[in-house]
Symmetry: C2
């Protein structure tokens, strides 16, 4: 990954990473990204689902949405993905922190016009949410394909920032009688709730019962 002045991690540079081996697992674990774009000088940050295929990040939405219409003009955007892994409890207020893994991707998105690529992206959105789902559901029809815009952002200018492990306190604070450590945080999947309109006799499939967030 090329490191540019725009993606270089300047604060706490030891937390920065620029290799696809660090960046891709973070992207693949998250459900949503936050897309930043500018309209009339005002930045907007909108959460949305996404998927990665190879070295490209895809987002999608209604063809009528302001975000999709703005972005598909080829303006500069920023896509950020963040996973929160733990609360870092230090002895001093100053060193309290959060363990996290985040990725920032800068670039211009382009509208996916090719029908095959668009369908592959739609499959990737579903499989990104829940692997094994795509073969069991009704696939998009012509009207739905028209109503959906898919945008592609090449992952070329990107960086990751990662904090892990113990708090780092000032030397003189380690004598304090204060508990310090990390409370780990994870995304937990609960018991699946059937649609209130689910027909009788439909058993819950393995891709749902076996679902575990990565």
């Amino acid at each position: 990954m090329k490191v540019t002045e725009r993606t270089k991690v300047k604060r706490l540079p030891a937390r920065g990473a620029y290799d696809r081996e660090t960046i891709y697992p973070i992207l693949d674990e998250a459900f949503i990204c936050h897309v930043g774009f500018v309209v009339d000088g005002q930045p907007y940050v909108i959460p949305t689902a996404f998927a990665r295929i190879g070295d490209d990040l895809y987002i999608h939405g209604s063809s009528a949405s302001r975000m999709l219409r703005s972005i598909s003009k080829g303006i500069d955007i920023c896509v950020t993905v963040t996973l929160v892994d733990g609360l870092v409890l230090a002895r001093s207020a100053f060193h309290h922190s959060i363990n996290y893994r985040s990725v920032v991707v800068l670039g211009k998105a382009t509208l996916v016009e090719d029908a095959d690529e668009k369908e592959k992206a739609l499959e990737a959105f579903t499989e990104h949410l829940i692997p094994g789902r795509w073969p069991e559901i009704r696939w998009p029809n012509e009207l739905e394909l028209k109503a959906t815009s898919v945008l592609k952002l090449p992952i070329e200018e990107a960086s990751a920032k990662v904090r892990t492990g113990d708090p780092k306190d000032d030397d003189e604070d380690y004598v304090m009688n204060v508990w310090a450590g990390v409370i780990p945080l994870t995304t937990a999947a609960g018991t699946p709730v059937p649609d209130s309109l689910l027909n009788d006799g439909i058993t819950i499939p393995e891709h749902v019962t076996n679902y575990r967030h990565k």
Copy 2:
């Protein structure tokens, strides 16, 4: 809350809300926000901790950070907070969705210069992460206060967007032999991990053992 053209939820307007009773609990439940700002025409979206006091949202960071230096000039920013509540599994690919609660706040942030207000904000950051922690830790000293910038964004132009409940499929798809429903997702706190440098004999305090994510 005033509803402006910039914050009005245009896609699926039924999901939009503009009252503080909806917006504040979403802000208070999240650990991080995503801050959008523009430098040389390029939007950046950076995850960071935050806290709310009354009708103001506070963020903080190193006085040396690019984000804090840029934002403290009084430029337009967008702060977005998103909670993911569940995977919505429909019968058709098109109607797959995510249950979520998000808030967008637009405005200009100002640097907090008043010492009392700054300390109250720093207390709020810690208590927002983990209630009950502030009285037990070492509070910021002069040097730390100088090294930290605190910015305040009035919550005046803001909107929430919320999706809850079952999938909404097309009428003709309800006959399909496909399981549909919601997999609930929550943030789960694991067993606290003591700092590897923790002194012997320090017991784990109640605000840590009792910690539960809201």
